[in-house]
């Protein structure tokens, strides 16, 4: 999985579990950047009567670093509040929900959006991660979100409050004409210019997790596995799963350090570092008399995500929880894990005789370091760079001067498409194939010209059909919020 249930602690707190983050120049509005932060893995569309919703007492954050210091100059916060219209029924809805104000809709959720602008001195360390000392800020009290989850002081702006989430897609009787009546009306344009949506969607990620975590197998390569089976097509385990998406579209000028819209790919101002997170209050007291939970203390980050599969595949089990508590600026402690990834050593063992050249690599995987921790400097790939400097930090790095591709390749940069991963990440990018091929050595010649990748490295695939140009069918939309309509509970799983 990209980051679904990727660490022991967060696997027990699904509403905080950041499953994927995407960042791309909006294909239909190239003057804007769209960021998608998904939470709640493996939502079964029929999961009622208490259908899925964002967590209360959870702070959802989208961070943007625009000066390469791996600390956020901009943070968007989302705080949710649930309410019951009628507490005297067990029903989520008492009739068809025809609109976001329909009285038949019982269990609702609204949210507030804050923007925090922070300035950092370059080279300053994060002195107080994880709320281990006070991060109080006088201005933070104006925010229901409570101010920065990231240590520091910032200017807090409340952008909007009481924005509606759509209901979950219960089924054809309860939520007819879901997109038209419920999802699209929940798309909100803020007075400051951003467009936001928060609610249930179909999970855009596709992965054969059942095979991959069965001893690192790819079904098309089953005969070559150390425990061989017959070759088969891949199985998309998220094909009928929903997720909860926060989708934010921001004019580029509101994200860059200069306040302008860079047009040169080599302009350092063009590269944004982006990640998302979820935080909880430091203490929770459970008690019947306080209707469930009382909370206290500063926000403590419990989940974060930028590059897909980083915590999932690179970080070992014993460090995964700690990684979720940490911040990108401190990621140098994971450098060695990227330089010598465990999966690089496993592939030749799992597929005997298939990866002899990979097995012979003794040096540091500086290609992976560039892809995951620093960005690719100018001069490596013609017409491309997403370098943020020497600070090792797991962030998506999006060069906003690169326009959306007219003919996207799901393989992103590996497919010659400069607008795809690792230049940010689009919804349909075939992350598993890209990262497996990279770890298997396809990108090692970027830093070692004498290396010849194994023939199999460039062929690695999950065997899940991926349209080469426009993604994976109806799971994606060509306009905001781009993430596809959620599967409904009546029809899913289909008989």
């Amino acid at each position: 999985m990209s980051s679904h249930r990727e660490a022991p602690e967060i696997s027990q707190d699904p509403v905080c579990d950041n499953t994927d983050v995407y960042a791309f120049v909006s294909p239909d509005k190239p003057g804007t950047v769209t960021i998608v932060a998904n939470y709640i893995p493996f939502e079964a569309p029929s999961g009622g009567p208490n259908f899925f919703e964002f967590g209360q007492n959870v702070l959802y954050s989208i961070y943007v670093d625009n000066d390469g210091d791996a600390m956020p100059e901009i943070e968007y916060q989302f705080v949710f509040e649930s309410s019951l219209q009628n507490p005297n029924t067990f029903l989520y809805n008492t009739g068809p929900i025809g609109s976001l104000t329909d009285p038949n809709w019982n269990s609702r959720q609204t949210y507030s959006v804050f923007r925090i602008d922070q300035k950092h001195k370059k080279g300053t360390a994060v002195a107080a991660p994880n709320g281990d000392s006070s991060v109080s800020d006088d201005s933070s009290d104006i925010a229901a979100g409570g101010g920065p989850a990231f240590p520091g002081k910032g200017k807090v702006s409340l952008l909007a409050t009481d924005l509606p989430c759509p209901p979950c897609n219960v089924g054809v009787r309860s939520t007819p004409n879901y997109e038209l009546n419920l999802a699209m009306p929940a798309v909100q344009t803020l007075p400051t210019g951003e467009v936001v949506f928060a609610g249930q969607r179909s999970d855009p990620f596709y992965v054969d997790v059942g095979s991959i975590f069965d001893l690192g197998a790819l079904r098309p390569f089953n005969p070559a596995h150390v425990i061989p089976l017959a070759a088969a097509n891949g199985v998309d385990d998220l094909k009928q799963a929903n997720v909860h998406s926060i989708v934010l579209q921001v004019p580029i000028e509101m994200l860059t350090a200069s306040g302008g819209k860079p047009t040169s790919v080599t302009d350092p101002d063009a590269v944004l570092g982006i990640w998302a997170a979820a935080s909880r209050r430091k203490a929770t007291v459970l008690h019947r008399e306080s209707a469930g939970k009382a909370v206290s203390g500063p926000w403590v980050q419990v989940s974060r995500l930028a590059n897909p599969l980083f915590n999932e595949v690179v970080v070992p089990l014993g460090q995964k929880d700690d990684w979720n508590f940490g911040f990108p600026v401190d990621d140098s402690e994971y450098l060695e894990l990227v330089q010598t990834p465990q999966l690089q050593g496993l592939l030749p063992v799992l597929y005997p005789g298939v990866f002899p050249n990979l097995a012979g690599i003794k040096g540091s995987r500086d290609d992976l370091v560039a892809i995951l921790l620093t960005g690719l400097p100018p001069g490596i790939i013609p017409g491309f760079q997403n370098y943020t400097g020497t600070t090792y930090a797991d962030m998506l790095r999006l060069n906003v001067a690169i326009p959306p591709s007219a003919s996207p390749s799901a393989l992103g940069l590996l497919g010659g498409d400069l607008a795809g991963f690792p230049n940010g990440r689009r919804l349909a990018d075939d992350i598993v194939a890209i990262e497996l091929r990279a770890i298997a050595g396809v990108t090692y010649p970027l830093v070692n010209k004498s290396y010849t990748p194994d023939a199999a490295a460039g062929l690695l695939t999950q065997g899940i059909p991926v349209p080469a140009t426009d993604g994976v069918g109806s799971r994606y939309m060509t306009h905001f919020p781009y993430v596809g309509s959620p599967y409904d509970g009546y029809d899913t799983p289909s008989t």
């Binding site: 000392s133 203490a283 008690h287 008399e289 206290s296 203390g297 500063p298």
Partner: protein, 98 residues
């Protein structure tokens, strides 16, 4: 059920501070301070309770969570009083569901 409500916590903490002002040493303070008196909560748990976390008994190091803030103090008298209440909990040996 042994709950420290915000009101009782503040009351206890206030008493401890007051005692510390007149006591020359922790030993003297302990001599003049009565044990915590167990009671039933007089109101609902606050939505955002004040929470104290004893980190180091010997140094009297206690972290106080309040609102969105967290600060750590050295307060041997406060730590001592909290420990005393905790010891009472254990002596009474009640367990179960709150």
């Amino acid at each position: 059920m042994n709950n420290v409500s915000r009101r009782s916590f503040l009351k206890t903490a206030g008493l401890a501070t007051g005692a510390a002002a007149v006591a020359a040493s922790p030993a003297v303070a302990a001599a003049v301070q009565p044990d915590a008196v167990e009671t039933t909560p007089t109101g609902p748990l606050p939505h955002e309770p004040i929470i104290a976390i004893i980190r180091d008994v010997e140094r009297g190091e206690v972290t106080v969570l309040s609102g969105h803030t967290e600060k750590t103090y050295w307060d041997k008298v406060l730590v001592k009083r909290l420990l005393k209440a905790a010891e009472q909990n254990h002596r009474q040996g009640r367990k179960g569901v709150a």
